[in-house]
């Protein structure tokens, strides 16, 4: 008995001393292994009489249990220490830079076009397109500017030497208005479209580029009047700039393709050297800024587009996309729009995930 007790104590002491898993395994083999003394002692129980067995078993069983427990505990402790050491070894310098993936961007013109599409879709407008290399008829004649019309001279038109089969001049569209004609000819009335796109004028200075972007709007129905035009533009600008204090001023003007024709001004103030849209243009610290031309579609234009002006009437408007983009997002140099400088594109461009939605607000804040 005392033998087992002292043997057990010696084994437990050795287990406690084991410095490695290998040493611990040696202890296990010495004790609980096939040839270990505990296992051998257990085997002796089989040859004993029941009385002898009853007397000897508890000591041996207890020795086995306490040694097994000590082995497990020690093993866990040694493993934990090993893991700790391994982790310490694996430590890296996380102040080192990680590999960056390039960030792409969406051009402000595209972003604003998406915003336009989103807002106007809510008002029932579809997006229409047309060719940029146009003929004289769609760009001028059908818009009530015949060849001798003085307004043609104001358009600074780029011409090609080519002619259409019917002998019409071929040119770069000077505005998005020819899309009106094409859309009406294609779809008839009623119709609600916007037509954003590139337009071209032979004009280049600090604030003009020979290529720029416009959006045309057209609503033709039976009872559309100037009040609807005003509401539509107000509603659009409120949604676009996400502010309720947008005030528009309509001024009489002249465009051959509308009658009456109105110029649209918006009230703004200047804050920190930047124009901020909002407020009444006549209020202190405010002024008016021209945003675009509009009016009721001229009866002649409706006729050219195959509609009966006695039955149909409506309005059209044209806005500069680059200009409203600049107003909203604070760019001040139009020429930089077309330069492809990644610094500018990263600065003024938009995350691909800034997809304009009505629920989130169409605009993307900086």
């Amino acid at each position: 008995m005392t033998d087992i007790t002292s043997q057990t104590e010696a084994a437990l002491a050795a287990i406690a001393q084991a410095a490695s898993l290998d040493a611990l395994e040696a202890q296990r083999l010495d004790t609980l292994g096939k040839k270990g003394w505990v296992s051998l002692a257990l085997k002796t129980l089989g040859g004993m009489s029941p009385e002898e067995r009853t007397a000897a078993a508890p000591a041996i069983q207890s020795a086995r249990a306490s040694i097994a427990e000590a082995l497990d505990a020690k093993k866990a402790a040694l493993e934990a220490a090993a893991l700790e050491e391994q982790l310490a070894r694996e430590t890296i310098d996380l102040t080192l830079p990680a590999q960056a993936s390039p960030k792409g961007s969406v051009h402000p013109v595209s972003q604003v076009m998406d915003e336009l599409a989103e807002i106007f879709a809510d008002l029932g407008f579809a997006v229409a397109t047309g060719p940029e290399i146009e003929d004289d008829w769609h760009n001028f004649t059908a818009l009530n500017m015949d060849e001798t019309h003085p307004a043609r001279a104001m358009h600074d038109t780029f011409y090609f030497p080519d002619k259409t089969a019917e002998g019409k001049d071929i040119l770069l569209r000077t505005h998005t208005s020819p899309v009106q004609i094409r859309a009406m000819l294609d779809q008839g009335a009623p119709i609600r479209i916007i037509a954003p796109g590139r337009v071209y004028r032979s004009d280049s200075d600090a604030t003009h580029t020979p290529m720029f972007h416009q959006v045309e709007g057209l609503v033709i129905d039976r009872d559309i009047h100037l009040g609807h035009l005003k509401w539509t533009l107000e509603t659009f600008f409120k949604a676009f700039f996400e502010r309720e204090d947008i005030v528009l001023r309509l001024r009489p003007s002249y465009f051959p393709f509308t009658e009456p024709s109105v110029e649209v001004d918006v009230g703004y103030s200047t804050e920190g050297g930047r124009r901020v849209v909002g407020g009444h243009g006549d209020a202190p610290g405010h002024a008016w800024m021209e945003l675009g031309g509009s009016g009721m579609v001229n009866a002649r234009v409706l006729e050219f587009a195959g509609l009966d002006p006695k039955e149909w009437q409506g309005f059209a408007f044209g806005l500069g996309i680059d200009r409203i983009a600049m107003l909203k997002y604070g760019m001040n140099d139009l020429r930089a729009f077309f330069d492809g400088d990644p610094r500018w594109l990263a600065h003024y461009g938009f995350s691909p995930f800034d997809q304009p939605t009505l629920s989130a607000g169409v605009g993307a804040k900086a």
Binding site: Q99, G104, D122, R198, H225, P260, V262, G340, A346, P352
Partner: protein, 795 residues
């Protein structure tokens, strides 16, 4: 149009302030472009009396003046003008005043060590004229100490933009009429100076071109004395930005600017025989008043006599017969020309003038006799002389347009309810006459009125566009319906997919230098502008790559380490009908460093053709193209490296994209440093998805797990890996669901002319797990398929 307030008040009885007048002008469609108030400009400039003048101790050309500005405290001023002297009166700018000509703010200073308390000013410095030889000398009686603005007369000048449909407002009187209609005052009748005409016109006047010149009226005034115009006339012309020339010229300008009515005065002594309006002869020449010679043709109308052409009708007079200081007898011409022909002539000659602007828009056909009498009367008044009777050839258009107007249209089209009586008042105040049943007769000067909508405009602009209330567009019930077309959705999705791939969207010019367009051209001719703004913006792009390459080069020149640019836009071709065929396209240029040098990655890496391929496939997939079915083929184009570029095709003919490394010759042509990778996606070639629905097909993952087997083949070095993959893929269509290249190796251990390609083949069991014999059979098929391409299994 510029005019002074005084001039406006010649015709408009009004008590309105300048601000009220400007608001009204804006409201009625005469946009105010600017108001210049000389009182503001001349603030801080006073009349000063020079008391003493002495030589500056340290400068020969300077004098030290003491000047009295009326407050009894003479100021010391240093002055460099040669005419500065004791006793004279001039204009002193006090410290704080801004010199109008150069914006300099005056301050007390020391000039070569002598204190100076202001500046004696020249005419030019105050923007009152061109004289800069000395300081302004005022008369003896000029009141010392008075603000110079008050002494000089401060008359605000208003500048308005007159739209081309309103030639009747290209004279101050017309503007006064519109303002009177708006309620800003009362229009005064035109003051007609009395004169008596004596004797028939001694010159025969004729129009031989009734279409081009329907009416030509004339009159001779003999014994006039030319010279400078009186101050009132000079002041009015100056306010309009017109330099006074001489009385006779100034009077015709006054008629034009005051009443929108161009007229011409010929020196009678320079004319011989009948004066005739006729078509020019082809090749006929005239030296115009701008001292340029114009060659005319038979589409143009001229005024000529026996000796030749004296006037490009309605546009510019001739130098030869123009009036001069010594002119004593004049022939006055007032005519009506066909507006279209004037416009065509002006465009063809590239000649603009105030007269052309008015004639081509249409002058008032009812203002020939009155205009001529007004001109004659003023001339007789101011220059003396004896006028003859008028001689009239032809007659101006006289048929007034009558528009049947329904006053309810104002509400229906204009969206504002204006009482019928007010509508009538507005129209009548603008010179329309309105009958009881609303037949509206238009004044002949209103060439712009075509129909009822124009009358709505007249009523609404005078009544006030601000009174038009916003009315909501009728909207469909419920949530707005989607409106985007498949093409629009494709472009929107691709744009964001490209940006999400790390590319920056650029917008580059649609037009290119011709060489750049040609470099990327196809077999069809380019669209080349006839009148480009510059050689750099001349030919419409046949590819998006040149514009992006040029941007990448600019960026590199600015020190950018890399450019990852894309653009979605059109390429411009010719359709079978000769018209424009504009193809939606996505272009990508990858230039510079793909990865910077780094502690992990080592050296900086450039972009390669596989970067281009990855983007092409990724974006085609985003576009919904069936990328699994695409073939990688050649012929990316001469602008690409022939061995490092390819096309992606759907079938052998439909090219969806091209990609690869840009050809070194192209890099050289664009002066760009390589390597540069590029991609072009041809969006119009991507087939639309057919019959797509929201619901996806059911999800049926295979019941049993797939297994993979690796094979390595020695194949001829020239064999395309894709061919091997396709062959292996086809070796057992039932079970092989994937083949992936995971290693390509040539060199040590691989025979010359060969390479090793290692494939991971995925096998998907069907109902039951693979048995060894089945796997063996499949492996044999794979090896056999590779063998057909010259592949042998590596041991």
């Amino acid at each position: 149009m510029k005019f002074s307030l005084t001039w406006l008040k010649d015709y408009l009885e009004t008590t309105a302030t300048v601000a009220e007048i400007c608001d009204a002008l804006n409201a009625i469609g005469l946009e105010v472009e600017g108001v210049e108030d000389p009182a503001e400009k001349l603030a801080g400039f006073r009349i000063a009396h020079v008391l003493t003048a002495a030589r500056h101790p340290d400068a020969d050309k300077l004098q030290v003046l003491t000047v009295d500005t009326g407050d009894g405290q003479p100021l010391q001023v240093v002055c460099g003008a040669p005419n500065a002297r004791a006793g004279m009166k001039g204009v002193l700018g006090l410290p704080g005043a801004t010199v109008p000509a150069n914006g300099m703010v005056l301050k007390k200073s020391a000039i070569r060590g002598v204190e100076s308390n202001g500046m004696m000013c020249s005419t030019r410095e105050l923007e009152l004229g061109d004289d800069h030889d000395g300081i302004i000398e005022l008369p003896e009686d000029a009141p010392v100490g008075t603000a110079f603005a008050d002494y000089h007369g401060s008359d605000p000048v208003i500048e308005v933009a007159v739209t081309p449909n309103r030639p009747d407002c290209m004279g101050v009187y017309g503007i006064a009429r519109d303002l009177a209609a708006k309620g800003l005052g009362t229009l005064k009748p035109i003051a007609m100076p009395a004169f008596s005409a004596a004797g028939a016109c001694p010159v025969e006047i004729r129009t031989d071109d009734a279409q081009g010149c329907p009416a030509f009226y004339g009159r001779v005034v003999k014994g006039v004395k030319n010279g400078p115009s009186p101050d009132w006339l000079q002041a009015r012309l100056k306010s309009a930005g017109q330099r006074p020339i001489s009385l006779l010229v100034d009077l015709t300008n006054y008629l034009m600017l005051g009443f929108g009515r161009p007229a011409h005065a010929y020196d009678l002594a320079k004319l011989s025989g009948a004066v005739v309006a006729r078509r020019a002869k082809d090749g006929e020449e005239v030296l115009a008043l701008n001292e340029k010679t114009y060659t005319l043709d038979s589409e143009m109308v001229v005024i000529a006599d026996d000796a030749g052409v004296h006037d490009i009708a309605g546009i510019m007079g001739g130098e030869h017969s123009g009036v001069s200081e010594t002119t004593t007898d004049v022939l006055l011409e007032i005519a009506y020309f066909d507006p279209a022909r004037i416009g065509a002539t002006g465009r063809k000659l590239g000649l603009s003038s105030d007269a052309r602007t008015r004639f081509e828009r249409g002058v008032d056909p009812e203002f020939l006799d009155q205009g001529l009498d007004l001109l004659t009367g003023l001339m007789v008044d101011l220059a003396g002389g004896t006028p003859s009777e008028v001689v009239r050839a032809g007659s101006p258009p006289s048929a007034a347009k009558v528009v049947a107007f329904d006053p309810a249209l104002t509400l229906r089209l204009g969206g504002v309810d204006v009482a019928e009586a007010e509508q009538k008042r507005i129209l009548e105040s603008l010179g329309f006459s309105v009958s009881g049943d609303w037949q509206v007769t238009c004044p002949l000067r209103r060439h712009d009125i075509e129909g009822p909508a124009d009358l709505v405009e007249e009523v609404v602009r005078i009544h006030g566009l601000d009174k038009v209330a916003s009315v909501a567009l009728p909207l469909v019930e419920g949530v707005a319906r989607p409106t985007a077309t498949p093409q629009q959705k494709l472009e929107r999705g691709l744009r964001r997919a490209a940006a999400a791939s790390g590319l920056n969207e650029a917008v580059t010019w649609s037009f290119l230098p011709e060489w750049a367009a040609e470099h990327f051209g196809s077999d069809q001719p380019l669209w080349v502008l006839a009148n480009p703004i510059s050689e750099d913006l001349k030919a419409m792009r046949p590819s998006l790559l040149p514009g992006l390459l040029m941007a990448a080069k600019r960026n590199a020149d600015r020190g950018a380490a890399s450019s990852r640019l894309f653009e979605i836009g059109r390429r411009y071709f010719r359709g079978s009908d000769g018209l424009s065929d504009e193809k939606p396209t996505l272009g990508i240029v990858l230039a510079g460093e793909k990865t910077q040098r780094g502690w992990q990655a080592g050296k900086a890496k450039p972009f390669d053709a596989y970067d281009a391929k990855a983007l092409a496939l990724q974006l085609l997939e985003a576009a919904g193209a069936p990328v699994a079915n695409l073939m990688v083929m050649g012929e990316a184009g001469a602008q690409f490296h022939p061995g490092q570029s390819a096309t992606l095709r759907l079938g052998p003919k439909v090219v969806l994209a091209r990609f690869g490394m840009v050809h070194p010759a192209t890099l050289k042509a664009f002066d760009a440093d390589g390597p540069i990778a590029a991609v072009e996606l041809f969006l119009d070639a991507i087939p639309a998805k057919k019959g797509a629905a929201f619901a996806r097909p059911g999800f049926t993952p295979p019941a049993l797990q797939a297994v993979t087997r690796d094979f390595a083949f020695l194949v001829p070095a020239t064999l395309a890996a894709g061919d091997l993959v396709r062959a292996v893929q086809g070796a057992d269509k039932a079970f092989i669901t994937g083949v992936r290249v995971f290693d390509v190796f040539a060199g040590q251990g691989v025979p010359e002319g060969k390479k090793s390609i290692a494939l991971e083949v995925t096998l998907q069991p069907g109902e039951a797990s693979f048995k060894d014999a089945e796997l063996k059979a499949i492996a044999e098929k794979v090896v056999a398929a590779a063998a057909k391409l010259g592949g042998e299994l590596r041991g």
